[in-house]
């Protein structure tokens, strides 16, 4: 049976056709249902296309300032360790403006979970270059394609997994049903780690932004398969026992 999870409100979402956010939203809700933690959830929506996460998830959710979800999550988890605290962040949010909060939460080994949706651009503001934009990729601020003068792609998994105090880091993708299911497994593990008090987990999910990429949704999936996942290699970067 493949039916709408309970933790997802039965409403139409605002995302563009073929956007990966919708898929990850559903996976998140499925996992919450499967783990039976809906009533323990405190989720943090980012500033980014997913800002309205609270219109879709049927559990307690808040909207943090741009880039600050890991700081907000730290405070919540420390004060209510029995809750499950998850941040959902885009690449602009997590590693452009919010790089320091992410780095410090990771280095402290906070017992929180970060879902990091990497769509190689700032979707919400109209498709500008993000720290994760692929070299050569055209965006509204790199009309000729990104060059190294504009900065280089930041590899969040590689960077964060180099920190001793981090528990689990994985990069997955949405470019096929198999990869989506793999993504779900990684996300579930990242939450299970928190429930088991294992510490900081982060899952980076390569996601389609057909609008900013100016591609048909299926082509966007192919683009992840052929280009994005070549720059950002999939895999488990850290799995501390």
């Amino acid at each position: 049976m493949f039916v709408l999870p309970k933790s997802l409100k039965p409403v139409k979402n605002h995302y563009c056709p073929g956007c990966g956010h919708g898929i990850v939203h559903r996976l998140f809700a499925e996992i919450v249902d499967e783990l039976g933690i809906r009533e323990k959830m405190i989720a943090i929506a980012p500033v980014g296309c997913a800002v309205f996460g609270y219109f879709y998830w049927d559990f307690d959710t808040l909207e943090a300032a741009h880039g600050r979800p890991p700081a907000v999550a730290t405070a919540i988890k420390r004060l209510m360790p029995e809750k499950v605290v998850v941040t959902y962040q885009g690449d602009g949010d997590l590693i452009a403006i919010g790089g320091n909060e992410c780095l410090h939460a990771a280095n402290r080994g906070e017992n929180i979970t970060i879902f990091f949706l990497n769509n190689t651009c700032y979707g919400m503001t109209g498709g500008q270059m993000a720290p994760t934009t692929i070299p050569g990729q055209k965006t509204t601020t790199t009309a000729q394609g990104r060059t190294s003068l504009d900065g280089n792609p930041i590899k969040v998994c590689e960077l964060i997994s180099s920190i001793d105090y981090v528990t689990y880091v994985a990069r997955t993708s949405l470019h096929s049903p198999e990869n989506i299911l793999e993504t779900k497994r990684a996300m579930k593990k990242a939450i299970q780690n928190q429930i088991d008090n294992k510490g900081f987990s982060l899952v980076e999910i390569l996601s389609m932004c057909p609008t900013s990429w100016k591609m048909e949704p299926y082509d966007a999936m192919k683009y992840i398969e052929n280009v994005v996942s070549k720059e950002f290699k999939l895999g488990v970067y850290k799995d501390r026992k």
């Binding site: 800002v51 307690d60 959710t61 405070a75």
Partner: protein
């Protein structure tokens, strides 16, 4: 219990007496004593002390604690408070309670680490974007650092809005006797009529905080209102709330009735005014003192009343910030004189006396 304490320590004791759950801070002079003493006292009390990686983290962690209904405080000094402006605007937009303390130092820029009053505008007019208002408390003694911390938490939860304590490096670092009164006694001093029970009840956040949706519908907390007219509606409600806050107005006046000149100030400057007032009276000059204990709400009506028949001298450690609010209050019924010193130095009693004489001879 009477003790000799620094203002910054007394503030910590007040917050603990209030029942604070969490403190977030990043070191900066002249408020380090708060962070340092909190690191000891909060651990003793089994509460959360957290040294953050930056002021951005401080204010956003405070936001996190507030979202789940905890009694949270952060403190910093001028440059650090500037960094918090976005976060403060979010707290106000999301209608979340917390206490924010600015132990002001000299500015602009890195400035210096003396006490100063250069951040009045930022605190009172809104350094953050959008129409931001916070009740702003103005302690002028170590005793008030203790008592106003207790008051601040209550008001924050009463209005679900940050409450700002605007003090400075001198009040924060000076050592002076303080009576660490019981909650009951503080409430007597700071509120007209508030029982310990009612005080504590105010911190029940179960009707709005995010604590997991067990036994109720899921909730969310946000400050984004994209639909047409939605934010305007929201802001109209905020405006009504700000209006209600005006009942928290507080000030103190001395020797006003027969005064020809009234000295107006807050915080450490008000103590200098008092020194000057005592001296002036000794030499036969009819001088009174008006001290603000809240900057928002502002005692506009009372000041206008006073000004109708008395000259006003505003003394401030800035280029003239609260001055503008005084002028707005006085609304042209009388001239308002000003003595300001910006950059961390103190106003001098002699200069105040000189100014008074000039005013009287005009």
């Amino acid at each position: 219990m009477i003790k000799l304490l620094k203002g910054n320590y007394a503030l910590v004791e007040g917050a603990i007496k209030a029942g604070i759950d969490a403190y977030f801070g990043y070191p900066i002079t002249p408020q380090n004593e708060i962070t340092e003493y909190m690191s000891i006292r909060m651990r003793e009390e089994g509460k959360l002390f957290f040294q953050t990686e930056s002021e951005l983290a401080s204010i956003n962690m405070t936001f996190g604690a507030a979202v789940i209904g905890k009694m949270a405080m952060t403190s910093s000094s001028s440059p650090g408070i500037s960094l918090m402006q976005e976060g403060i605007s979010y707290l106000i937009g999301c209608e979340l309670p917390c206490v924010i303390v600015n132990v002001q130092r000299g500015g602009p820029g890195l400035g210096n680490i003396s006490g100063s009053q250069g951040d009045y505008f930022q605190a009172v007019k809104g350094g953050g974007h959008g129409d931001c208002k916070m009740i702003c408390l103005l302690p002028a003694s170590v005793q008030e650092m203790y008592e106003m911390a207790i008051k601040a938490f209550y008001l924050a939860f009463k209005y679900r809005n940050p409450v700002f304590i605007l003090t400075d490096g001198i009040i924060g670092q000076m050592l002076e006797k303080v009576d660490l009164l019981s909650l009951e006694d503080v409430l007597k001093n700071q509120f007209k009529n508030l029982s310990v029970d009612d005080y504590k009840k105010m911190f029940d956040a179960s009707s709005w905080a995010l604590t997991g949706c067990e036994g109720r519908d899921s909730r969310f907390i946000r400050s984004l209102y994209m639909n047409e007219g939605e934010l305007t509606k929201k802001n109209t409600l905020l405006l009504e709330k700000y209006k209600k806050m005006e009942q928290e107005l507080d000030w103190e006046e001395e020797l006003i009735s027969d005064a020809e000149v009234v000295l107006v100030a807050y915080g450490i400057s008000s103590r200098i005014n008092k020194d000057a007032c005592i001296l002036a009276r000794k030499s036969g000059l009819k001088v009174g003192c008006f001290r603000l204990k809240t900057a928002f709400p502002f005692p506009s009506n009372r000041l206008k009343e006073i000004a109708r028949t008395r000259k006003i001298l505003v003394v401030e450690m800035s280029m003239g910030q609260m001055l503008e609010d005084v002028k707005l209050a006085v609304d042209g019924v009388n001239t308002v004189d000003f003595y300001g010193i910006s950059g961390g130095d103190l106003p001098e009693v002699n200069v105040i006396l000189e100014k008074i004489k000039n005013m009287l001879s005009r």
